[in-house]
């Protein structure tokens, strides 16, 4: 390290370190002050944050898939959002009909049915993600870097059209199985709904399971080794292809779970939900520091809150522009994200 640094360097260092955090705090702080001066309480902001957290749980699950795959083969799995969409469709458009889940189903049947749906969604999305890797990415592992990214875009388009063929081009309503907008309790003017609890309560165990698996299990260790250096991992007797497939499987499992939660929470599904969700979740993964699982979860929740505040205060039609503006700003100020290190992480 140089002993003396110029003022410009110091400013750049502070911007890189705190610029993103300051950027993230702008919206909540500004609207918080506005709330206090208007209503004298922070209830509205609190409600935004609660809604944001439950949306953010979905983004967090998807973002983990991006981060896992990026960590191991440095590819932005562009089709990941569509894997999530298929997860939604397979349960909401088909599985609930098959096992006969409706609003009238009794509570025990509902719980069993939803657990079964969760398994179906996760397995479908996981398998799909593994297949995508097999067909579109593996043949290109030695090709120039742009090639798999372009096939990823292609796969994403193909899957969207599978969605259109399946349920048509418009948004479809699904049964409100858990009545997501029903109030559960209220603390200090902040209302917590059933959907909020469901979404966070499903996400947190899954995140814990995944992180434990990756940090504790033998296969998780193989994944981390492959991420660090595929060649060396191969020499140590790790089957790199299987490990990469496993990574896609895990990412797909999370996306499937997110798909189910999305269908329950939003009670509509459509073929285009994956595109937006994919970009938002990617932003979340980058915000947290790509390759970093905890970062992806943190980023998911933060993006969820930003999105909710923007929906509520500025107007939903501007939300995508605001989220993408954040993406660009992160890239400018702190491409390594909040929790990422300044080098290439995890790979």
């Amino acid at each position: 390290m140089p002993v003396r640094s110029s003022t410009g360097d110091r400013i750049r260092k502070y911007l890189s370190e705190y610029g993103l955090i300051a950027l993230l705090l702008i919206m909540p702080v500004v609207y918080g002050i506005q709330d206090i001066s208007d209503d004298g309480s922070l209830a509205r902001l609190g409600n935004n944050i609660v809604d944001g957290l439950s949306n953010g749980a979905i983004w967090a699950l998807i973002a983990m898939g991006y981060t896992l795959v990026y960590g191991i083969i440095e590819l932005i799995n562009f089709a990941h959002g569509e894997v999530f969409m298929i997860g939604s469709l397979v349960t909401a458009a088909w599985f609930w009909g098959v096992i006969g889940l409706t609003e009238q189903t009794a509570i025990l049947g509902l719980i069993i049915g939803l657990l079964a749906s969760l398994v179906v969604a996760m397995v479908t999305s996981g398998t799909l993600n593994v297949m995508i890797e097999r067909v579109a990415y593996r043949p290109l592992r030695t090709a120039p870097k742009l090639a798999p990214l372009i096939t990823a875009v292609g796969m994403s388009f193909i899957l969207q059209n599978v969605g259109i063929l399946w349920i048509g081009g418009s948004q479809e309503g699904v049964p409100e199985l858990i009545d997501p907008q029903k109030e559960l309790f209220t603390i200090g003017g902040v209302q917590v709904n059933q959907g909020d609890v469901l979404s966070v309560a499903t996400t947190i165990p899954l995140v814990l399971l995944l992180t434990t698996f990756i940090s504790q299990s033998r296969m998780g260790r193989a994944m981390r080794a492959t991420a660090q250096d595929p060649e060396a991992a191969r020499l140590m007797g790790i089957n790199v292809d299987t490990t990469i497939s496993l990574t896609f499987l895990l990412g797909g499992l999370m996306a499937g779970a997110a798909g189910l939660i999305y269908a329950l929470y939003q009670t509509t599904i459509w073929y285009f939900q994956g595109f937006q969700a994919g970009l938002i979740a990617f932003t979340a993964a980058v915000m947290g520091g790509i390759g970093n699982l905890q970062g992806a979860v943190l980023g998911g929740f933060i993006i969820g809150i930003i999105q909710q505040i923007s929906d509520n205060r500025i107007g939903g039609e501007w939300t995508p522009a605001i989220v993408f503006a954040y993406l660009v700003l992160i890239m400018v100020f702190r491409p390594q994200g909040l929790l990422g290190e300044e080098t290439r992480e995890a790979g």
């Binding site: 440095e74 590819l75 932005i76 067909v135 579109a136 043949p139 290109l140 592992r141 030695t142 090709a143 120039p144 870097k145 742009l146 090639a147 798999p148 990214l149 372009i150 096939t151 875009v153 292609g154 796969m155 994403s156 388009f157 193909i158 969207q160 059209n161 259109i164 063929l165 081009g169 595929p230 060649e231 595109f275 970009l279 990617f282 980058v286 039609e317 501007w318 995508p320 522009a321 993408f324 503006a325 993406l327 660009v328 890239m331 400018v332 491409p335 300044e342 080098t343 290439r344």
Partner: protein, 463 residues
């Protein structure tokens, strides 16, 4: 002419290439081209034969400069003659004009992606800005503009003279659009300067979406609310001026007028075609000249290995920004042309799909390959604007399917991208240099790709 006889006096060794590969290419490409042109596009048979002969010459004599000059002269003459042998308002002319307009954009994107290796997934932003510029300066959108609300008119036809709104001549608007999009391209380029390949893709995508969003919601942006500049903007654009027409779009846009006679007519496509052809020729000239210039070689060096290029003295920032700027300018040019041709600026068009449509042209033809990109544009415009609508109009019982095929067209592009990348990543007509690279890669079987090695290092070097 249809035989590959030596066309000149054959002084020294004008020998056609007769190895098996070339002959197979010749035997497949020329008949395929003639069948495609006559059978599917509806081109005049004689013209298709001549086109086949020109392409055949190019295939058989890939290296001879004299043949190349002859091919270029013949091709330009052929292209100028083409509209006069076809129905002036017919389907063929419509498709031909669209092919040329989209080829301008595909060649622009080719500079960014093909030459400089910067994967741009937000090219629609430049098309949108070009079209929007036409909307601003070639329609009655700013109906209260000008002194007393009479409008502003610069070098326009007599019939346009009395209309409300701002009306500039097409050529002026093209220049304005080029300036606007070049600046936009460089602005979009700025945040990507220190990023690696796939991050660039996402940031450009985000920019494309942001621009699309702003255009769609532009009817909420009132100029009078703009801080500091509000009054000035209102003075210039008139009372109640907004940024864009929102979802309703802007229209009608003035037809092109080139200082003589009447403005172009919607049903006589010959002048439109010729203007588009002039644009393509200009863009082709720029493409070829740039490719072999110092700047073009800098782009290719950048694509191959950013670190090596930088240490050899290639100025990274300038080179990258110029790639974005140049590519963007072509997008803006085509945007103005298409807005005028279609007489409307439709904001719903400015979506990610459009960027992929253009990208698919470049990928299909071959990244960096000028001839390939032209072929890619022709094939995809035909697919999108003729084949799929035609197929859709066929009786449903043919397929026994109740679905709207036009909804599924994006699947075709998705499929095309995957298939091309897996089976023939160098494209239909590969750029020679890239072909060699890919062959080398397969041979070496190393894990790091070209863009990869470069990008990775910069990512680390930045730390």
């Amino acid at each position: 002419m249809s035989t590959p006889e030596p066309t000149t006096n054959g002084r020294t060794g004008l020998q056609p290439k007769t190895d098996r590969r070339t002959l197979i290419t010749f035997a497949i490409a020329v008949p395929a081209l003639i069948i495609f042109a006559t059978g599917l596009l509806g081109m005049n048979f004689l013209m298709a034969l001549i086109l086949g002969a020109i392409i055949g010459l190019r295939i058989l004599f890939p290296d001879d400069r004299r043949v190349l000059v002859a091919v270029i002269v013949l091709a330009i003459g052929w292209a100028i003659l083409l509209p006069f042998l076809h129905d002036e308002g017919g389907d063929f002319m419509n498709i031909a004009t669209l092919i040329l307009a989209y080829a301008v954009m595909a060649l622009g994107l080719n500079i960014i992606v093909g030459y400089a290796g910067l994967l741009d997934l937000g090219y629609v932003a430049f098309f949108a800005l070009g079209a929007l510029t036409a909307g601003w300066f070639m329609s009655d959108f700013y109906a209260n503009a000008g002194k007393g609300g009479d409008g502003i008119h610069v070098l326009v036809a007599d019939v346009t003279q009395n209309l409300f709104g701002i009306h500039f001549n097409f050529l002026i608007v093209v220049v304005v659009a080029i300036v606007v999009t070049t600046i936009a391209g460089m602005l979009i380029g700025l945040p990507t300067l220190r990023l690696r390949g796939d991050y660039i893709a996402i940031v450009t995508l985000a920019f494309g979406e942001i621009v699309g969003r702003i255009v769609i919601n532009g009817d909420q942006i009132h100029y009078k609310d703009v801080p500091l500049l509000g009054d000035t903007l209102t003075d210039v654009f008139g009372k109640g001026a907004v940024f864009s027409g929102g979802r309703e779009g802007i229209g009608p846009i003035d037809k092109i007028w080139l200082f003589v006679g009447e403005p172009f007519k919607a049903l006589d496509l010959r002048p439109w075609y010729l203007v588009a052809l002039a644009m393509v020729l200009l863009v082709l000239f720029v493409n070829y000249r740039l490719r072999d210039s110092r700047l073009g070689r800098a782009w290719i060096a950048l694509r191959e290995d950013e670190v090596a290029a930088a240490s050899m003295g290639v100025p990274l920032v300038k080179t990258k920004l110029l790639a974005y700027g140049t590519g963007a300018a072509f997008g803006g040019m085509a945007g103005v042309f298409l807005a005028s041709r279609l007489s409307v600026v439709n904001a719903d068009q400015f979506q990610f799909f459009f960027s992929i449509f253009i990208l698919a042209m470049v990928i299909l033809g071959g990244l960096g390959s000028i001839e390939g990109v032209l072929v890619g544009a022709a094939v995809l415009v035909y697919l999108n604007f003729k084949f799929i609508p035609d197929l859709n109009a066929k009786p449903r019982e043919w397929f026994d399917l109740d679905l709207d095929l036009s909804e599924l067209s994006s699947a075709i592009y998705g499929f095309l991208l995957v298939i091309m990348m897996v089976l023939r990543p160098e494209g239909l007509i590969p750029e020679r240099r890239r072909k060699l690279e890919l062959a080398e890669h397969v041979g070496a079987g190393q894990t790091a790709g070209l863009g990869d090695a470069a990008g990775q290092d910069t990512f680390e070097a930045r730390a």
